[in-house]
Amino acid sequence: MQNTSLITIKDNQTAFIPYLVAGHTSNEVFSSALRLLNDVGADLIEIGIPFTDPIAEGKIIESAHHHALKNDFVLDDVCQIVKKFRTYSDTPVIAMGYTNSFINPSSELIATKLSECGVNGILIVDLPASEKSIINTFKNNQLNHVQLIAPTTQLNLIEEFLENDPALIYYITQRGITGSNNLNLEEISEKLSALKKLSNKPVITGFGIKTVEDVKNLKTLTDGIVIGSPIVEKISLDPSLTELKKYVEPIVETIKA
């Protein structure tokens, strides 16, 4: 058993890691969804920071980003909401997004803000491991680094990624954007076991995971399962969150079974 500040690796247990977009569909709905996901058993929560040009996102998540921005989303709102959430739960939270949202007005200022309100880590989709000064600014503010690995990543380069001492490795299941439908279990299984041999970091898995069936297939292969697009879709369709609850309960049950 290995402890990290984001998730704990335990035998026969897989973490449930929901993703939702900050300020979507409103700050109130976002805040309620955060609690709901916590209450149903999230082990780590990814909060998407809305950006005008989220190039790795499919239509569902891109629309949620744009929706939140249209509602005049500001980072300070997320900070307030996470701060309040912290009085309620210790579940770790990571901010996920695009470099430009994390360096403006400066990475130092964003890091301080996120750290002060109780965010535990960052996952920046378009930030390469070589941009060490940005990564270190966040790490110096107690924000854990999450390293993305793709099916196309040459695993002989992994040493370079591990130099940044990521708290988690996030394996992207497929060539594609969020919400795609191309899960190739054979390739995923092969890559995940290779990754496990190369490092002792927890490896979580995301992109295109939607159904109870997907979760069943993946849970023994990975330390954590990230679900994004279906959650964001349920929040879009039903801000009362009844649909969200109906969707996540069997998923969590399957993950924890």
Binding site: I55, T99, S101, F102, L127, S130, T153, R175
Partner: protein
């Protein structure tokens, strides 16, 4: 220093899924850029297919009219497909073939890059998919039809601002999904490393020719070179061979939009440092780093970022960047058409409009405008908006 930087700008800010493809592209390009066979192949296509070298033309009537320095046009508008864009697409299509990729993705704003990509794909038998903003599809109808006639597919992009920046987002999404089989031919000196270098090098053919032509035709290097800058590929191509020639003044003309209160496409003049589409550069953004909606009469300059090497040239003051408003560009569009019998693209009209601001220069000076493209594609939208 990290890979692919020009001073503080550049880099590879991309989803990890693409990093292997970009490494492969960089490796191949480094291997073949000075390769004799590759360059012979490229030179052949430039000569017999594109129609290079493009002439350096003395704009005598305009020179008389403006009563200032001697004005010359580097005629990239005479290239096959009507703009400088083909210089890059033929080079990159050859690279794609060497990478074994038979499916080509491109984004386009004004449609010129889409046409140039579809053209070379037709010639080389490559599948071609062009992403184009819905707003641009509307204002560049003729190029849309051209692209389809050439056998390429157009995918309309409705998200965000429905212009070039969103077309780029969609093209990147396609590339992330089909990276094993597809090559992305980016249309400007923007994007992640090694694109800004590759696109610059292929476009530098115009600058290299200009150097030789100016020494032949007016026995000196130009005193000033003016080019319009959206992403900045025509400008970087014509500037680059002159960077070490410090007597040559380099002027990049950005689009100012309607007036000084408007957000045009002047990323260097009005923008700040940020990351967009894979590179750290000057961009038009809000305080929180979200990308602003830009406005320009010219679809090709309607872009909130600029090639990282331009941001660097601005920083070290090797090139000067200015902006021209829609009305000034439109006036130049008509004026150059009537005085020289050359209808310029609205993008190029921005560079031409700057000539009015330098008429006080000594008459012995030689000023070259890079005529990046011809205006046929813009006639319909200019006609629709014409008050007369």
């Amino acid at each position: 220093m990290n890979k692919g930087y020009f001073g503080d700008y550049g880099g590879l800010f991309i989803p990890e899924t693409l990093s292997h493809a970009l490494n492969e592209l960089e490796k191949l390009y480094t291997e073949i850029k000075d390769d004799k066979d590759f360059n012979l192949q490229l030179t052949d296509i430039y000569k017999d297919y594109v129609g290079r070298p493009s002439p350096l033309y003395f704009a005598e009537s305009l020179t008389k009219h403006l009563n200032g320095p001697k004005i010359w046009f580097k005629r990239e508008d005479l290239n096959h497909t009507g703009a400088h864009k083909i210089n890059n697409t033929v080079g990159q299509a050859l690279l794609a073939k060497m990478l074994g990729k038979k499916r080509i993705i491109a984004e386009t704003g004004a449609g010129q890059h889409g046409v140039a990509t579809a053209t070379i794909c037709a010639k080389l038998g490559l599948e071609c998919i062009v992403y184009m903003g819905a707003k641009d599809i509307e204002r560049q109808e003729l190029n849309v039809f051209k692209i389809e006639t050439l056998g390429a597919s157009i995918v309309p992009v409705h998200s965000g601002t429905a212009t070039l920046k969103d077309a780029l987002n969609e093209a990147i999404r396609d590339w992330v999904t089909n990276v094993d089989t597809s090559h992305y031919i980016i249309g400007s000196v923007t994007g992640p490393h090694p694109y800004p270098t590759i696109v610059r090098d292929f476009n530098a053919i115009s600058g290299k020719e200009l150097k030789e032509q100016s020494l032949n035709q007016f026995k000196a290097l130009p005193d000033m070179i003016i080019a319009c800058v959206g992403g900045g590929s025509n400008a970087m191509g014509v500037f680059h061979p002159f960077i070490e020639d410090k007597t040559v003044e380099l002027i990049g003309v950005e689009a100012g939009g309607k007036d000084s209160s408007d957000i045009g496409g002047a990323s260097i003049t009005d923008g700040s440092t940020g990351v967009l589409h894979g590179a750290k550069t000057k961009i038009l953004q809000s305080n929180s780093g979200n990308i602003l909606e830009t406005n320009s009469i010219s679809a090709g300059l309607d872009y909130p970022g600029v090639g990282p090497e331009h941001a660097y040239l601005a920083d070290i003051k090797r090139a000067k960047y200015v902006k021209i408003f829609d009305d000034e560009a439109l006036e130049a569009f008509y004026e150059i058409s009537r005085i020289e019998g050359i209808i310029p693209a609205l993008e190029t009209a921005h560079a031409l409009a700057y000539l009015k601001k330098i008429s006080a220069l000594d008459k012995s000076k030689n000023v070259v405008v890079n005529m990046s493209g011809r205006g046929d594609k813009d006639l319909y939208s200019v006609m629709k908006n014409a008050k007369h």
